[in-house]
Symmetry: none
Subunit: 124 residues, 4 copies
DNA sequence: GTGGTCTAGACCACC
DNA sequence: GTGGTCTAGACCACA
């Protein structure tokens, strides 16, 4: 799950992963996130790396810290993450995709084919 | 045009830029690309940086080298670039987009709206 | 061991040397290779030179990189090296030898004499 | 015939080629070698490059210069070239090949197969 | 501590 | 003039 040779930092990949789980509901508001040591052991990573991940998530008010007990998913976490990501999506990701499709003369059908899968999801 | 504080390295941005120019036809197959030191002076960067750019472009068979003369746009450069970028698109960009659309519950209409512009391009 | 006036670049000789050590087993799969700067200090060369060596070895999938930790001998390294060198042998070295033997009218016996030593190896 | 991206200099490749032709008899002792300008035009190379080739061949007493007339294959050229190349062959090329065959565990049959072609040549 | 990038400047071989 | 390699030293991000 962790790509050691990715362009993003490992601490960031882990943070993204936690955000993903919060969005998908696999980590609900108020849930305790794995402890630093536990998380480090699970992922086979230095605990300093996890510390940085949690520190930044806390700074972004996505998790909160109760001293001596652990970190917990903040009340507003899902909406904050969704807000932030939507902004990134519409301002960065999507325009880039559009540009690529035009420049590379990619067939619309190749893209819509994959989008149709999403239609099914919306009907769920 | 070159962003010095981008996440991508300068040498890579310069390479991307050259690829763009090849795709757009501003640099045609067989054309001589600016000499290493000339390019360095033009862009205000070190010649080693350009060397790295050119070396990687040569490795990807986008430019070729004639000893003592310079670098030239390779015969298969446009197709190589297109192929490389398409691979990146379908393997990296698009899956990421799909994932985001699902996770953020973005409306299909918001995406298709932008795709419709591409229909126009196909009719050209 | 490193020849500074050789036709091959220093960075390449160092790479060849590492490959030799992998083939001979002195560097085993999964082993950490010396850190860039440590290696540089050991060999008395610049760290950029080692960076180039390691980058190319990584590109050839002979070593892999774990961010912030170091470089490690890749799983498929020995077979990759053997494959690469065999290709070089049959495509470059051997044809050159054949050409010389023909052109110089060298006696077959002079060559087979040395090849017979190899018979012994095969019987091992 | 000329590889622009070879490790050997172009001037050297051209010289090697001329030596090859002298060995094979395609250029006989006393023959006039192509003029600098003619050779340059034929190979699509700068005439300075040819000048360097001829200068070095002259220095090695493989060709001689008659001012205003041209360059000619020297009397002792074939034997000199053969001598030089044989030395290189037995001291450099062959030992390297032997080393490779052992290290890469290349089958003897793969090598002898190609050597057998030489037997046929010897019978000519 | 690790790698990664860039600069500045030097030196070389080749065309 | 061209590319190519190496050094020395700096700065940064990441673990």
């Amino acid at each position: 799950m962790i790509e050691f040779k990715n362009s993003k930092g490992i601490f960031q990949q882990i943070g993204d992963n936690i955000c993903d789980r919060i969005l998908s509901g696999s980590l609900a508001v108020g849930d305790k996130v794995p402890s630093v040591r536990e998380q480090a052991a699970t992922l086979g990573v230095n605990h300093n790396t996890i510390m940085r991940t949690y520190s930044e998530l806390q700074r972004d008010e996505i998790i909160t810290n109760k001293r001596g007990i652990g970190y917990f998913v903040a009340k507003e976490a899902p909406s904050m993450i969704r807000e932030k990501r939507r902004a990134e999506f519409f301002e960065l990701s999507l325009p880039e995709i559009i540009k690529q499709v035009e420049l590379l003369e990619i067939k619309k059908s190749d893209v819509t084919e994959l989008l149709n899968k999403l239609n099914d999801n919306e009907n769920k």
